[in-house]
Amino acid sequence: MTDTLPHDPEASMYGLVTDWATDFDHADPGYNRHAHEIWTDLRATCPVAHTDRYGGAWLPVTHADVTRIAYDTEHFTSRSVVVSTGEQIGEAPIVGAPPITSDPPFHHHARRLLLPPFAPKKIDPWEDDVRALCHRLIDDMGDADTIDAAVQYAQHIPVNVIAPCSDSRSRTPICSEDSCTTRSKV
C-alpha cells in the first residue's frame, strides 16, 4: 500500500510508505528516522520484506539471513548492488564497478588487481596523515555539546584517505600512474 502524497517534498518519487513489509523504500523520510524500529518490527512479522519500487527489491533483516545470502554466491549475485531507478543487472563478469559488482570467480581476479596498492605495508606510511586528519576533524568540533559524528567526522575520512592516490608534498604516487590518476591531497 502506498499513500501517495506528491506534495510532500521529502517523499521519494513513489510516495510515502505505509507498509514496510510489502512496499519498503530506503529513500522514504521515515526510513532514515526509524530504521531500527522498522527492522525490529519486520524481524517479528516479515524478516524478508519486499517492494515493487525501483524495479523490485528484497530486504532481509536478520543477521542469519544476511550472512547466508552474502556467502551464497551460487544463488545470489553481486551484479546488481544498488537499489535505484537507474540500476540494471549488468552482464557478467565485469559489470560496472568490479570487484563490488562481480561474482566469483572473476571477483577474485578483480580484487587481486586492486589489492597491491592498498596492502597493509603499502599504506602504513599513511598512518600519521590519517591520524592528523582525524585529530583535525575532532578539533574542528570545538566545544559544542552536541555533534553529528557522521557528518562532522566519519564521512570525511574515506574521501580524504582513499581518494587521494598521491602525496602532494612529495608527489610520490602511492599507486602506479598506470592504475591510478595522480591527485592532489584534499
Binding site: 589489492l115 597491491p116 596492502a119
Partner: protein, 68 residues
C-alpha cells in the same frame, strides 16, 4: 595449536595481520601467510586468544586450526 590459511579462500582482507601481526604476515599482493609454520605456543594465552580472534574475523573463513 597450529594455524593454516587456505590461500584459495584468502581474498586479502588482512584482518588477521591487523589483529595478530605476531602470527600472520602479508605479502606485497595482500595475501596472508602464517608465521612460524602456524604454530601458536600454548604457553602464550594471549596469542591463542589473538589466533581465535583472527579465525573469527576472517570474512572468507580462510583460517583454521590444523587437525594434527
Amino acid at each position: 595449536m597450529r594455524l593454516e590459511i587456505d590461500s584459495d579462500k584468502c581474498q586479502g582482507h588482512n584482518r588477521c595481520y591487523a589483529l595478530a601481526p605476531e602470527l600472520f604476515d602479508v605479502d606485497d599482493y595482500g595475501s596472508a601467510m602464517v608465521l612460524n609454520d602456524g604454530i601458536v605456543p600454548a604457553e602464550l594465552e594471549e596469542l591463542e586468544e589473538k589466533a581465535r580472534l583472527a579465525i573469527a574475523n576472517c570474512p572468507e573463513f580462510a583460517i583454521s586450526v590444523a587437525a594434527d
